[in-house]
Point group: C2
Chain length 390, copies 2
């Protein structure tokens, strides 16, 4: 921090220059048709932009966020914000996504709870929140809404779509659903379909919420949400984002605030205390129904079934983008073998693909942590795409 | 099953020959002093025996069960029992623990809910169940109670102590706490101390129970237990007992009772349906407070701290037993590296140890599944011990 003494903000994305914008979006005749067959009538996406769109509109990069993310990528809204946006490490002047060169856009996903239409939004038909009557969404639905936003911004073709985890699924969907609109695809720490293990973790997390009596079949009030269930769900998720090695390094068996075990059911171990804290913090900022909808969308995601009749190679054959795929050695939620399956299918389909497995013992969360390797991979990839254009 | 047509029971341990016995046990002057400083006064252990104790009482094998186990090792109590005891594969005439040669004993652990004294037992001071006023137990406390039982049965020295997972921790504790009483120690799929990852999973499972409003600070009534929390806790546990590969083979992304995803929050995937079923089944047979106490005991277990001042070699130096240690390639709860740490410390301490890592993709639960390898390892190990005696 001392490097930037005199300014609490990260360099480049100035305070007050970032603001959350909203777009009302719909396909003709005024609704968004979801894959499950429902029509959501004009939807709102909350979004933010960084940098400037160039004259020929060729420098736009869309970033897709993961489960608990939002549109706030970088910088600070106000001077007293305790933390910058979630990918401040990567987004800003001179950073991996260089806002002096690229126009970076990030929108809260459809189904989310950070400004975009989701289960917590008012159902115009009833005047009350949708709750569990909100249509069950897919990654495809989220991407469809993002496409409307991109068009709304006057962009026909994205230089790249970038994202990790659930964001990476959106990247893959973009490249296959809208081939003409994506020149570069950067799926990080992700998969084309959840393993049984990943579904299992999501299912237990959802059960924690749905069996919390305060969930009330999804029809809870904002001041009495199913906090206990959501906290447990977040704790489960959090474990899957770390790794055995990362937890050992970070916590091992160290005790919290004491030298001896307490012989109680308090959180004596630091790791226990950390998880409880993460659960609590999450409850303050996230909606339980959104958690259900977003996790279900990731479980349903199946790129090869949706676009290739069961063949990933056939699905990827549709894509026109160049790919940069990154996995992490200690990611056991979406292990490297799943990224390698993508790489093989892309090669078979005759696509241009670079692949890098980054050595990191942080687990799945590694894509959110400082990494010179990732930064240089992404900036190099974008520079290549920009050169090709020129 | 057809092999044993005409008899629904497994061969050897005849129906009706198995019954649950109870022993009231205490140290002088009538209580069991627990490590946390409480006194539990005479405690009951529910136990079962298989085979016959020989004249010189040298053929007794104590089996220690895992978290959800009980004293019912093998055979059937009654003709209409749907399933035999939990280790019927291993215990019986001619099996790995050959009941024609050995006298096999298994007791429900102290703190359990299958007949032994636990948090669901009546507190004589109040006439009501202990609930959360039950003392927080350790693996050492469980083993201390088992030692009283073994003495009660007139056995001074056990041919072997055998167990997996939490049962394996008891085996290790036995060998170090009562060196003179253990000739052979067989810890399977276990560890001398939980990793941060293992503590994390236990903590989240406990939080699922303790934040269920029905838990009521541990003071719930038997007909209104915290079923939702306990079911979620069991689901979390169940995931950790399997492996990515085992889940893929068993479930992959197959759907339950339908060809298409349902766009609902029902359990469309088989793995989700399986987990919900496991959660429900567990609630019918297990006590939520026992789950809390037993998992906490495993988190606290730390053989090197308790007996070696932080050195595992020093702890193992106390042991007189010969060891057979078994781990499984796909066990990510207690990975092989933890067993190898034991082997190295035992060798450093000059102890006799055999080690086998069994190739199996079933995950942690592998020790409960049919394995000729494990059967022959155990029967060979016991035969060697018996020969040494002779």
């Amino acid at each position: 921090m001392s490097e930037y003494a005199g300014s609490f903000a990260s360099p480049g994305v100035s305070v007050g220059k970032v603001e959350k914008l909203f777009a009302r979006l719909a396909e003709p005749p005024g609704v968004l048709a979801t894959e499950c067959g429902a029509g959501l009538g004009p939807v709102t996406l909350a979004y933010e932009t960084y940098g400037r769109l160039n004259a020929d509109r060729s420098n736009a990069v869309l970033v897709c966020h993961a489960l608990s993310g939002d549109s706030h990528l970088a910088g600070y809204y106000r001077e007293d914000d305790p933390k910058p946006g979630w990918w401040d490490l990567m987004v800003g002047p001179g950073k991996g996504l260089d806002t002096e060169r690229y126009f970076v856009v990030c929108a809260n996903v459809l189904g989310g709870c950070m400004g975009s239409t989701g289960p917590g939004s008012e159902n115009p038909a009833t005047g009350r929140p949708f709750g569990a009557t909100f249509p069950v969404l897919t990654i495809g639905d989220m991407v469809k809404a993002q496409k409307l936003l991109v068009e709304h911004l006057g962009i026909e073709r994205l230089l790249a779509v970038v994202g990790g985890s659930m964001g990476g699924m959106q990247v893959l969907e973009w490249a296959v659903r809208y081939p003409e609109a994506v020149r570069g695809a950067v799926p990080l720490a992700t998969t084309t379909k959840h393993s049984a293990l990943a579904i299992a973790f999501n299912e237990v997390a959802r059960q924690a919420i749905m069996t919390d009596p305060a969930w009330r079949g999804g029809d809870y009030s904002a001041d009495e949400p199913p906090s206990h269930g959501l906290a447990v769900a977040r704790m489960i998720g959090h474990i899957t984002y770390l790794s055995d090695a990362a937890m050992r390094r970070k916590f091992d068996r160290r005790l919290q605030d004491r030298c001896e075990i307490g012989y109680t059911f308090e959180a004596d171990f630091q790791v226990a205390s950390y998880l409880r804290h993460q659960g609590q913090k999450f409850v303050e900022r996230f909606d339980a129904n959104s958690f259900l909808y977003l996790t279900k969308a990731t479980d349903y995601f199946n790129l090869e079934n949706a676009w290739g009749g069961g063949s990933l190679t056939a699905a990827f054959s549709r894509a026109l983008a160049r790919f940069l795929i990154v996995s992490y050695t200690s990611d056991w939620l979406y292990p490297t073998y799943q990224s390698k399956t993508m790489v093989q299918a892309l090669k078979k389909a005759g696509k241009k693909v670079s692949f890098c497995e980054i050595e990191a013992d942080f687990g799945h969360d590694a894509f959110l942590l400082p990494s010179e390797r990732l930064t240089s991979l992404i900036s190099g990839f974008l520079a290549t795409l920009a050169r090709e254009e020129a």
